[in-house]
Symmetry: C2
Subunit: 431 residues, 2 copies
């Protein structure tokens, strides 16, 4: 049998993973770390804390793939049977390791004498390689057999597992791996204010001559692009990735708000900080969400002043000076009102910039003329105000999240064009 | 072979699940829904979008267990091969269903003519039962064979899957299940303002004589209690569950904010609505998070007026009338300032009630006297103001989330005591 030397199978062990009490996030972490050294996860099995089930899954996985990582079932209780299942499949006894027992005793020292039941955590299938785990009581263990293949046992708690994968398993597997193996190198671009289909249409075949894959990753807030090039070394693919990024920047222009994985609120915060501007918010339907997002990053006090949550129409009038007649004539969700909100927030705060949102988040409150999802956004910088109306699909949460993102994006575009706002409306309606 | 009639296996299908790009949350949802009708998930396999791998996993699962649910791989592209893999294992051809094709065409009507490639989504392994999916293009399908067993195919998108499980799969399986099987019946109690260890200590052995299990579920916002009793029928266990709830209510008193799974913001919103009060907020470190949470439920305009995000100290002075000398003497994170914030929010809004928060969310800004996590909360109702200082452990996000929860909980306790606030401080420091 010729095996794919880059394939790895995972076996996740634990009743709590099957009952729905715990969602397994270890597998995704392992897959991403392995991918970076050119290995692929080809199958995963989730089994109960039962020796027969573990042994059965391990046998099948070794036959198919030859390299297996197990997670969980290494604790000190009777439920924890991964060690004995692996020892059985590899036909080896469990070996007591004095140095592991001493390490366990040192960990326990402060809590009092260690229970004898914990001795099992010092046992290793004979000949196994131990990966010390400074964060917990169960070490990682590698058991290799020329005929059967390789099995690596890892503890289930995510913080312990992640450290062991990063610090021990990846170096161990990388050393055994074929040096010529190709690995993925990645770049990310994040966009706002342009639909996925519009991105795809504009990009068209523009990258077809480059050895770079483009994946579209739609998020509730916007569309991200992930560029991937495969090589055995970063220097081999950096040029192609650079060219791809450059072309996408030409094609998508200001729709790209960052290269990398930063949040739009961080990008906007950095722009305000750089320009020495303080921002005030005026939020109706988003009711604090924009302020919350702008203050998620530490250091937000450099650029964030504060603002007004004007859910009730009385709040719009009293806190922001929105004209009562305008409210009655046009309704709270209208261009004249959102402009007055932005102006009011700026002038009443004394901040240099303000952003305002008013909309119908639903599920109630819509009409034929202004259905749920109708949202008006405005940005005031100095004496100029830019406003924009949008229709946002989705349920209440999605409307609020997208309205907040749209407001931050409008602010970003206004700041990009300089202190004024001329020309912004045309630009941002481009999709 | 005698099979465990309550066992079900899951097969999750998709390259993105193995690559780490997507974390599978469908399996946990299915497991919890099945548990409620007395079925257990005994194994789960995650395989690639490859017909051989799916067929291989399905054959093993049918042999072991006889009842299998697959998720994913039902889309219209060449990657989507679940239908053909299942048809192969059951030895049946794929059957074109005219009524499914017509439903697909209706879904597409607005977008233009449907591509011919989508015809595969109207195909079903011969004799299969279709579960219509109003939320997406791929219906659920059940294929049953007296010898091989049962396989249910579900689409991968979580919103579609959940609705199909709830509305079609659970009723379908419940009808086939053994009526005498014991199932879990559950009650939930949610608490705020009391530590898990304090709950455990107070509860002690108080429920030991009842056939009810209590699980403590610590959340970032507070501690939930889950009560479980097993029986073949709700009437069998309702009495024991009622008694357990009653005893816990006696033991934990006002720390319990709801029986069920409602959010604290909903509970507080309902209390305000009932009392005909409108609320204003004054938020510094939480910067909009309390307002956002209070407006998450539809209909929040019944009780939520709006408020003030006073991140900058100038905002506290200008928007709320906090006294500049008090700010300088005591600092922004202090009892006198939080009291002035709550009073200012109430009087300047004209709302009957106000809640205020000021704190150090970190990571910077802490001192020996006021470390990161120092938070002051206040509630004003009418002329009375109740204030409370807390130290919240954790990183920036956790401090902000817990400060918001603490503020809502203080408001709840003040409202519980009537319009005034006397005695509230003593009561809520009880942990």
């Amino acid at each position: 049998m010729t095996r794919d030397r880059t394939a790895v199978e995972l076996i996740a062990i634990g009743d709590e993973l099957l009952s729905g009490a715990t969602i397994d996030t270890n597998a995704a972490y392992i897959a991403l770390e392995l991918e970076a050294i050119g290995l692929r996860v080809t199958r995963k099995s989730t089994v109960a804390d039962a020796e027969d089930a573990i042994a059965d899954a391990l046998r099948s996985a070794l036959e198919r793939t030859g390299t297996v990582i197990t997670t969980g079932g290494l604790g000190p209780t009777r439920d924890d049977v991964t060690r004995s299942a692996v020892a059985r499949v590899f036909g080896r006894p469990l070996e007591f390791r004095q140095e592991l027992w001493e390490a366990l005793q040192r960990r326990w020292a402060r809590r009092g004498p260690i229970p004898e039941t914990n001795r099992v955590q010092a046992e290793v299938p004979a000949g196994g390689t131990v990966f010390p785990n400074p964060r917990g009581t169960a070490p990682g263990i590698a058991v290799a057999d020329a005929k059967l293949g390789l099995c690596i046992l890892l503890p289930g708690p995510p913080d312990e597992l992640r450290a062991l994968v990063r610090e021990a398993v990846v170096p161990y597997l990388a050393e055994r791996a074929d040096a010529s193996v190709r690995r993925p190198f990645r770049r990310y671009l994040r966009t706002a204010g342009i639909a996925e289909s519009a991105i795809a249409q504009r990009v068209g075949s523009a990258l077809d001559d480059l050895p770079v894959d483009v994946a579209f990753l739609p998020e509730i807030d916007g569309n991200d692009l992930r560029l991937t090039a495969w090589g055995s070394d970063e220097s081999e693919v950096a040029g192609a990735l650079d060219r791809a990024v450059e072309r996408l920047r030409e094609i998508l222009g200001a729709h790209i708000y960052v290269e990398g994985t930063a949040e739009l609120a961080e990008v906007v915060g950095a722009m305000l900080r750089e320009r020495g501007l303080k921002l005030a918010v005026a939020e109706s339907c988003t009711a604090g969400l924009i302020a919350k997002r702008l203050t998620d990053p530490p250091g937000a006090s450099d650029y964030f002043w504060g603002g007004f949550v004007v859910y009730d129409d009385r709040a719009k009038i009293e806190l922001l000076g929105v004209d009562e007649a305008t409210l009655q004539l046009h309704g709270a969700v209208s261009e004249p009102v959102v402009r007055q909100m932005a102006e009011g927030a700026r002038s009443r705060s004394g901040a240099e910039a303000a952003v305002a949102v008013t909309g119908i988040a639903g599920p109630a409150g819509g009409s034929a003329e202004k259905p749920v999802g109708t949202v008006w956004l405005a940005v005031a910088v100095g004496d100029e105000v830019a406003a924009r109306g949008v229709h946002i699909p989705g349920a209440r949460d999605a409307v609020r999240a997208r309205a907040a993102q749209g407001a931050l994006d409008l602010l970003r575009r206004v700041l990009l064009r300089g202190e004024g706002s001329r020309g912004v409306e045309g630009m941002i309606n481009d999709h």
